[in-house]
């Protein structure tokens, strides 16, 4: 057995290395989640090409498709943003359904390559649901 004096510095070294790895990796893997209102308000913080997730309801009558690209409006009641989705469509994607799309601003449009359908019966922020 190596000297007991060496064990604690060795463990501290391992712990420090793990912390550094976690910290650097976390920074690279964060994705912001914004509502249409927040996305519009914080437009300057998220320049074109800066990825984030946008969540809201697909506006009825806004969904069109051409050449595999879907275009639709996403709203939270306050703001509405036009979304262009190039990637795979989630199962049973339709109008009047809650979605979370991931992508980036491109001018006044949001260009997304992934989308998820939210299955909550009521599409609300957690705070408002809790109050009800």
């Amino acid at each position: 057995m190596p000297s007991r004096k060496l064990i604690w510095p060795a463990l501290a070294l391992v712990a420090a290395a793990v912390m550094v790895l976690i910290a650097t990796n976390l920074g690279n893997s964060l994705t912001y989640y914004l509502t249409p209102q927040e996305a519009v308000d914080r437009r300057t913080e998220f320049p074109d090409g800066q990825r984030f997730r946008l969540g809201g309801l697909v506006v009825v009558g806004s969904l069109t498709e051409s050449g595999g690209v879907k275009t639709f409006d996403v709203t939270d009641g306050a703001e509405t943003i036009q979304v262009q989705l190039t990637g795979a469509v989630p199962p049973l994607f339709a109008e009047d359904v809650g979605v979370v799309v991931e992508g980036a601003w491109s001018g006044s449009r949001f260009e997304a390559d992934t989308a998820l359908v939210r299955h909550d019966e009521s599409y609300e922020a957690p705070a408002t649901t809790q109050a009800s």
């Binding site: 057995m1 690279n28 912001y32 989640y33 809790q130």
Partner: protein
């Protein structure tokens, strides 16, 4: 009437819990358990009554209860109406109380056996701790998570306002919205949550023994033996629960995957990792007297993580696919978590003089050294998952931004840890206690390494050259080959030593080895299960193929060696849902192998359907079809393959089976020894 019965059950359980705490604290001096029978029976009776009342109300469509009105529908079929009893927050706490009551009863039975002769102070004080935990969970049901609130303002489809008083004038809605559609889509939903709960709540028992040992100042090895055994019970259920949960996600959530690093999934993984670490480190203390303080930390940590997990998933603090639970219960659970962590570690710090200094270990190249490595890796693993799960909460609390930590974080951090763990699993069992001769260990590993490398070569030749796939096969095979060669090696040495007849004697010796040391070999079986899971993950994560296609009836398409023929759409009307689906004929090399029917289920008046995949399982892997869209003209179909995914389910259940084997073998040994 159900409300009255249910409340009576909860209050009985609460009263029994308080009674148990008082009686057990009084009896701790001599360790006399006889006086605890009544309070324990009271808790169990109350918990059973509450659960039965809730289930009866669901089966009887009693919409005057708020819980039934908001989580049940007349059309919900069996067993989903029954599973609704734990599918939403308040009901899940009732099930929690029931399982805790059962564990308390089982613990009491074992304590009263040991207490009969010379008293059992450790066990009696542990029952006091379990009583305290039960006070909390029955208290929850009586206050912020009361499932028996009476609906006083009905809507057409649910309940708007409720009263906690069972005598309030009830107003029952005609029908309810039914459970969350995702929860009435698959039979596993009826099995997997109770399994997980048996695992989570089972970790209360080792925690109770640890706190008891500290409280009565008996930090010897007895608490450790009992804690390890009860951890093994919980671990077995938890392993099965996690695997079944992954399987459920795969069969229901229709994204082709089984693990999303979702907080709900992480909440079950973290206690599992810490409990696994404890199962190993406890052996180091039993054999070598080391790691005494560390074992307390692990047991307290595993229990705290189950409470943390409950807080994360039951308070709505993190929105996720499991976002079906949002309530005011959060602050209470957080307070309890704080109490458990702060109280336990305060008690621990005042008793630290009882924990003997670790004896010097002879060498790090030894069984105990490999267990130290195992504990280091598992602890880092758990810490990584914890950080990734909590970090978004911290960010949101500080800046108000909602962020998520992506899958890449977990994958980058955990894949190297997983490989290191596999290597430790292969080498560790081959190293003797105290001090290993490195040359001898290397010699005993020669055959397993050769087998593993051969498996790697076969993988490159016939399956894939992707590094991670080959690496997973080599590392996983190494673990399994190491265990098998250990068994055969010992058996053939024993056969030679006995000099019995040359034919068939090794087989007999293998059986003798297995029955002589069942818990060691059960552990090796669990290792093999984990290794299979690792190989399965390696395959599915790297070799899955995906495709998307628009089809009209009559169309054919080739995908990943399958020929898919869209025959016709179908439409079903079931009591609780409308089903739209597509019948797709699957052939391989011109021969029809199966017919798959992926579907979209529409529950109640929902416009958004739930897509349910159709899966064809073969030895090489699954074909997984999901309907992305269906209308009058055709379908949009997503096609996925999941190579070798059955290895995950089989491996996971083998790992759990190892735990079960160890438990039953020890029980049989006790019975034959006349204990």
């Amino acid at each position: 009437m159900f409300a009255l019965l249910g409340i009576a059950g909860i209050l009985t359980g609460l009263a029994g819990s308080i009674w148990l705490v008082i009686a057990a604290v009084r009896a701790t001096g001599v360790g006399e358990a006889a006086g605890l029978r009544r309070p324990v029976q009271t808790i169990l009776g109350g918990a059973v009554l509450a659960m039965l009342a809730l289930e009866a109300a669901l089966l009887a469509d009693d919409f005057s209860l708020e819980y039934v009105a908001n989580h049940h529908a007349r059309a919900t079929p069996f067993p989903f109406n029954f599973a609704t009893g734990w599918a939403a927050l308040e009901g899940s706490i009732v099930l929690w109380g029931l399982i805790l009551a059962v564990y308390t009863w089982v613990t009491f039975k074992s304590v009263s056996r040991t207490a009969r002769n010379e008293g059992d102070r450790l066990g009696v004080a542990a029952l006091a701790v379990m009583g305290l935990v039960a006070v909390f969970f029955f208290g929850l049901q009586a206050t912020v998570a009361n499932p028996f609130q009476v609906c006083v303002e009905a809507a057409a489809n649910g309940c708007l306002d409720a009263s906690p008083f069972p005598w309030a004038a009830a107003q029952a809605p005609p029908d309810g919205p039914g459970p969350n559609p995702l929860l009435q889509n698959h039979i596993l939903m009826a099995i997997h949550p109770p399994m997980l709960y048996l695992g989570f709540i089972g970790l209360t028992v080792p925690f109770a023994y640890a706190i008891s040992a500290l409280a009565i100042k008996e930090a010897g090895v007895e608490w450790l033996r009992r804690s390890r055994r009860s951890t093994l019970v919980a671990w077995t259920f938890l392993t099965a629960g996690i695997v079944l949960g992954a399987w459920w996600a795969y069969e229901v959530l229709s994204w082709g995957g089984y693990w999303g690093w979702d907080p709900v999934e992480n909440a079950s993984l973290m206690p599992w990792l810490v409990a696994t670490a404890f199962l190993h480190s406890a052996l180091v203390q039993m054999r070598r007297g080391a790691l005494q303080a560390w074992n307390f930390v692990l047991v307290i940590g595993a229990f705290s993580l189950t409470i943390l997990g409950t807080f994360l998933t039951r308070s709505g603090v993190i929105g996720s696919v499991h976002s079906f639970t949002q309530s005011a219960i959060g602050p209470v659970l957080l307070g309890f978590l704080f109490l458990v962590v702060a109280g336990s570690f305060w008690l621990f710090s005042t008793r630290s003089h009882l924990v003997a200094d670790s004896p010097r270990l002879d060498s790090l190249v030894s069984r105990e050294g490999s267990f130290l490595l195992n504990n280091l890796l598992l602890t880092i693993f758990a810490f990584v998952v914890l950080t990734g799960t909590l970090y978004p909460l911290v960010i949101e609390a500080i800046t108000g931004d909602r962020v998520s930590v992506g899958r890449p974080f977990f994958v980058r951090m955990i894949v190297p840890l997983a490989f290191a763990l596999l290597l430790a699993m292969g080498v560790g069992p081959q190293t003797p206690w105290r001090e290993a001769d490195p040359g001898r260990v290397a010699a005993s590993l020669r055959v397993p390494i050769q087998v593993a490398l051969a498996a790697g070569v076969l993988t490159v030749l016939f399956a894939s050259r992707i590094g991670y796939v080959v690496g997973a096969v080599v590392a996983g095979t190494f673990v399994i080959a190491s265990g098998v060669s250990l068994l055969i090696g010992r058996a053939s040495r024993a056969a030679r030593a006995r000099a019995t007849g040359p034919s068939g004697s090794v087989g007999r010796e293998i059986r003798r080895q297995l029955t002589a040391e069942p818990s060691f070999w059960a552990g090796q079986l669990s290792h093999a299960g984990v290794a299979l899971v690792a190989i399965g993950i390696g395959f599915t994560a790297n070799l899955a193929q995906h495709g998307e296609v628009a089809m009209e009836p009559g169309d054919h398409i080739e995908f990943a060696g399958y020929n898919l023929h869209y025959r016709s759409p179908f439409l079903l009307t079931e009591p609780n849902r409308r089903v739209q689906g597509a019948t797709i004929e699957v052939s391989v090399d011109g021969e029809v192998v199966t017919e798959l029917r992926p579907r979209a289920n529409f529950y109640g008046g929902d416009t958004a359907g739930i897509s349910t995949p159709a899966v064809h399982t073969a030895f090489t892997g699954d074909l997984y079809l999901t309907l992305l869209n269906i209308d009058a003209t055709g379908i949009l179909l997503r096609m996925d393959t999941s190579p070798g995914i059955w290895l995950l389910w089989v491996g996971g259940l083998i790992a759990a089976g190892g735990g079960a084997w160890s438990l039953t073998a020890r029980r049989r040994a006790l019975v034959t020894a006349g204990v």
